[in-house]
Symmetry: D2
Subunit: 409 residues, 4 copies
Amino acid sequence: MADTIIKIDLSSSPYENEQVHNRWHPDIPMAAMVKPGDDFIVECHDWTGGQIHDDDSAADVRDVDLTQVHFLSGPVGVEGAEPGDLLVVDILDIGTFEESQWGFNGFFSKRNGGGFLTEHFPEAQKSIWEFNGMFTKSRHIPGVEFAGMIHPGLIGCLPSQAMLEEWNVREKALYDSEPERVPALATLPYADTAHMGKLSGEAKARAAAEGARTVPPREHGGNCDIKDLSRGAKIYFPVYVKGAGLSVGDLHFSQGDGEITFCGAIEMAGWIHLRVNLIKDGMAKYAIKNPIFKPSPITPKYDDYLIFEGISVDEGGKQHYLDVHVAYRQAVLNAIEYLKKFGYSGAQAYSLLGCAPVQGHISGVVDIPNACATLWLPTDIFEFDVKPNADGPEPMVQAGVDLPLAKDE
Amino acid sequence: MADTIIKIDLSSSPYENEQVHNRWHPDIPMAAMVKPGDDFIVECHDWTGGQIHDDDSAADVRDVDLTQVHFLSGPVGVEGAEPGDLLVVDILDIGTFEESQWGFNGFFSKRNGGGFLTEHFPEAQKSIWEFNGMFTKSRHIPGVEFAGMIHPGLIGCLPSQAMLEEWNVREKALYDSEPERVPALATLPYADTAHMGKLSGEAKARAAAEGARTVPPREHGGNCDIKDLSRGAKIYFPVYVKGAGLSVGDLHFSQGDGEITFCGAIEMAGWIHLRVNLIKDGMAKYAIKNPIFKPSPITPKYDDYLIFEGISVDEGGKQHYLDVHVAYRQAVLNAIEYLKKFGYSGAQAYSLLGCAPVQGHISGVVDIPNACATLWLPTDIFEFDVKPNADGPEPMVQAGVDLPLAKDE
Amino acid sequence: MADTIIKIDLSSSPYENEQVHNRWHPDIPMAAMVKPGDDFIVECHDWTGGQIHDDDSAADVRDVDLTQVHFLSGPVGVEGAEPGDLLVVDILDIGTFEESQWGFNGFFSKRNGGGFLTEHFPEAQKSIWEFNGMFTKSRHIPGVEFAGMIHPGLIGCLPSQAMLEEWNVREKALYDSEPERVPALATLPYADTAHMGKLSGEAKARAAAEGARTVPPREHGGNCDIKDLSRGAKIYFPVYVKGAGLSVGDLHFSQGDGEITFCGAIEMAGWIHLRVNLIKDGMAKYAIKNPIFKPSPITPKYDDYLIFEGISVDEGGKQHYLDVHVAYRQAVLNAIEYLKKFGYSGAQAYSLLGCAPVQGHISGVVDIPNACATLWLPTDIFEFDVKPNADGPEPMVQAGVDLPLAKDE
Amino acid sequence: MADTIIKIDLSSSPYENEQVHNRWHPDIPMAAMVKPGDDFIVECHDWTGGQIHDDDSAADVRDVDLTQVHFLSGPVGVEGAEPGDLLVVDILDIGTFEESQWGFNGFFSKRNGGGFLTEHFPEAQKSIWEFNGMFTKSRHIPGVEFAGMIHPGLIGCLPSQAMLEEWNVREKALYDSEPERVPALATLPYADTAHMGKLSGEAKARAAAEGARTVPPREHGGNCDIKDLSRGAKIYFPVYVKGAGLSVGDLHFSQGDGEITFCGAIEMAGWIHLRVNLIKDGMAKYAIKNPIFKPSPITPKYDDYLIFEGISVDEGGKQHYLDVHVAYRQAVLNAIEYLKKFGYSGAQAYSLLGCAPVQGHISGVVDIPNACATLWLPTDIFEFDVKPNADGPEPMVQAGVDLPLAKDE
């Protein structure tokens, strides 16, 4: 078995682990060094560092401290890596811890981050998912069991100082355009809860003050939340600093395209087995700005779908111009209304669309003024037949079970 | 063989055919009647009604009259269909005409509709695609040959008068927000070039004045340009008028998600073989607002992909808030830059991404402020190995071949 | 559209068409010539040349003259092809004739060829399949509709004189080992019903006397009945004579692995669109003895299967040594018994397994003394749920419909 | 995590473990009991119980004691299971031991069991495969790396006494038809090396004398070596004794259809995570004789294949009658000759076809006198392009590396 170069302890705080960090900054020292060709294992906290529990209350989701996220394992230094190279990463495997066979999904309160449908679901709710080998099911959402496309929600290399500054400038500009907005338009550097790995003292304070938050995906990849970047995938990452500095976290047992519930997919702690190689000067050779990747040969085959369309006319009937975000929201809302006909609550349906391997396609983006997006719901995840027929649906899901909700206080 | 209930003549104008129309209006008389359970064949002009030619000049694309599009065959009336029903449509097959074994793709001049990348490709260009059975290749884009997912870009039922009015009001409101914009924000009713099927005289004039343009997808489906709605698919359409009134056109030999080139996919004339059935009162039974569908069991298997990421920071470095449109544009631009390393021109790469069965996924839409979109490029459509390796790419495509361009006059 | 270089007339006898033949012999003159890189269309009779009719009697299947089969279109000569080359054939498309939208399946009387289960179904029976675009269903087997993997059952190049002699010698030796057997162990040359294309007079008589029958697959391919050699596939054929001489026929709308019913798949008349190229000296370069091929990117995706196992213990309980034939027969019989629980007759189930895209896998061939074979039944071809559940099956298929049977006279 | 109800110790002999057995007999006491609905983990020795080592000598393969195989974990008793029921088994996951990240493949000496191609490879050879997460590669076969379809080669329920006797009678009859044959036609009961689990004393002696060997697959499933019965599959097993008595072993990291090398697939020790349920009286309800199963939604997607044909004319040119075994052997030999053109030795190619997820299809079994079988070689397992082209193959594999061979002594 490959060496585990970063270990974590689920029973202690991630702040106590020097091989963990929660901000992006080029000064964070390498947590471990490997060579091109090496494969190795990295253990990861769940993205919140243990703030969410396997219980039937959503109070923890409501009260979560989002300034702490995401706890990443790394950075892993790769000998010989230089700015301009491509770091080729094979995800050889991902797994759970024997003592932690569960994951969580939820939507935040609108006051604290919200989610894709926060106008419709403004208060915190949570669902817990039990893992059974490669399958998962939830006591809060009956009638479904499916195999996960297990993947890291967040993975990428350290930015250079110049890139970091560019991030901070452009995100601050957006934030400042509507600084009172709830939820905010962007997450800005915030030193109080920053964990900068092995950095300490003055160096840590300096870096913490300007370290980029981990929430958005950026040029280096980062929090892309791409469900297809799953075990078996091969990724080509841009390198910006000497040694590359690969960090990873936010493991998901399963997720739908868009990670619409924000909190988020089926979130879990676990380990990831990686192999690294270099393509020297690969960024220029292949004109690479953002990472590119090849999907895994090992992905659950859910080939029968029910597909919902949405267009860029919003819930109030207002016409938007080629807005795929609005169109996808309509497709998601259409799917939720459909699922409610089978007995699900809206919250159950919303959570399910965030967790199951649904696809979200950008189907049309030129037919002014409407964008068209489609949500692909795999029918085989249901224990009953979810397809339409002439008789109409029968409620297949027993009443009385729902996601716990924690009211804003 | 099923009856061909609507025939067309490629050598004459679609305006001469009473079973064709190019606006949406509830008063358009049924072109033909069928019964639930029937299967039948409908012939279709290409979406422009023959304005584009199989030659090596893009003048026709530059000079296209877009007020004429799309020429649809129908409406087909279904006995017993009533508002509130679902019309279940099986696409049993789609084919080309023996005498018309080619299709076209292009981008319009920015002055006349543009396309997804009109800022980067502001002038009209065209590529011609030759059909070889189930495969296609282009003399303007060497090095690729692929099987099409043949599909109708546009299919749906007639709107009710109330729905039509809602469309006109909301689109006018958007148009009026920036009436001088080029290209315009929306296409408004335009009587001069309206073709209202069998309507004539005063009735035609009235309907033409308010008939909705066919460009955007809407609640009824319409111009969704969903590549996966291909032959073999089963679609559930909302019914708004007595008899349903199903119309279809804008056949595509192949298209990538997004139909980014606007003109459009690989556009073709051809025929479509349909079967219809009803789910009475199905809209309420299943809470259906937009059409839903099941994909075909018969689709080209391109399972090896190279996947490009894009985030919602635009070409100028400006940060946008969860804007999937911007993110997908970045993914597309990243793919174009990559393909240029193999010898393609930008226009060739752009056209190829509009034509080949690429996927566009909404990968992340909650990680503020960046949306993340992915473009999935099937590697098997290339006659050479398009994947990265340590040696870097060699130009695989001979120079000197490119898409014809027609300068604005 | 590519040229149709061989045309047929369904209303006249294939014996009247000089571009058709029903024996393999190197002296048969080329029916048409093409060049490497050309694509072209060839029309084909059904394998029996029209002996079976679209009706509800199996008398035609019982009385079929099997000495006439298979009527092949060709040979097509390829300029520059020489013995030792590989002929690369792209199957660009296959289609039906507008006036012939049906196919047939059946099992012969045991006295006249029988079938895989002739001991269980010793008398002639027939099912007729209606084509609806890319789908088919049968009035004799309710409850199923599926998309076909349309393919040629028989395709290959002319043998050399030496190869022909080798075939004749080895098959005669087998035949002679049990000359009285019914059905016979092999089909030997038979001049009376031989059709040798353009050959006439003495030359024809000579060739007819030794021309190999078309029933078995051989080194050149021939009657392989491989369902996966479908439209979109690319095949590499050994070349044995100058000009290659490619002939094709026995088109199938759909077939299960094994073509167990012998008569056969869903048999049809139709056309095939081919493209040819050469790999000079390819047989030696790649050590090719039998054809090799790449499957199509366009095949129906039936990914949910119910899989039946069989071992090489026969119906009488006798132990055979690693006999895959016996093992597959048990798997087939197991599937038939299963399907009978849903209301099908044995003959319906047998015919369905011959027609639908079932897979037959050689699962284990070393675990002495039992071979293990598996039959993969795609569940999505059924209009009802065919999977096991705790309640047990309900008869889903109405009684009173069955395959016509024609008793031996 | 589910309970591990059977544990093993790789450093001690399986004979010391009472929860292990190596013969089939109804008297073997249950090793552990579970309830319907339970999921649990069972650890397994490799099939030889540790006789083969991770080294570069094939002496262990040559000297293996095959009377000891297969060491199975179980039987697991299921409360309430009775003869006639179906035991529904979900394979929730399968994994390797952290301290045992390797597997082996080999062919036995012809004197000691041989293999599918024992006439061509009569002496013992071995390849060792290293596991890297979900992927594997071998130091003895360069140029390939692939994801395994991990599965149990052997799984099934205890036979009844009547069934056991039927097995013994029919296999003895075959054995006796050629008792001097090497390798033997069948493996008969052999008490000396029998391990009967918790049985001891007289009871053990009695059972050992008649306990069926585990080599062949039989009605209960057993040693089917079906690669598709992989993690994620759902299997329906016939129950013959009270409590069912499910045993499992012979785990494979990967295998090709046929398990042609006999020793065997990529053989490994590991654990399997199962869930059990009952369909009462399911054998009669569904007419089940042999197990049936549904494949996993999680299987490596190797969708691009090079397909080799074989017919039932043997290596000496002799014609066999519809013999799929002979036909598949020809397809395998054709593939081996092809791979040798890329630099592989015959032994490397043979071993690879036994290990990689190749498919073996029974393509035609009625076209007298030739059966046609196809071997499907996935092209994506190779690190180079293995497809034919006009230039011919270049040796891609360095010389000097090969499988160790141990000469018969």
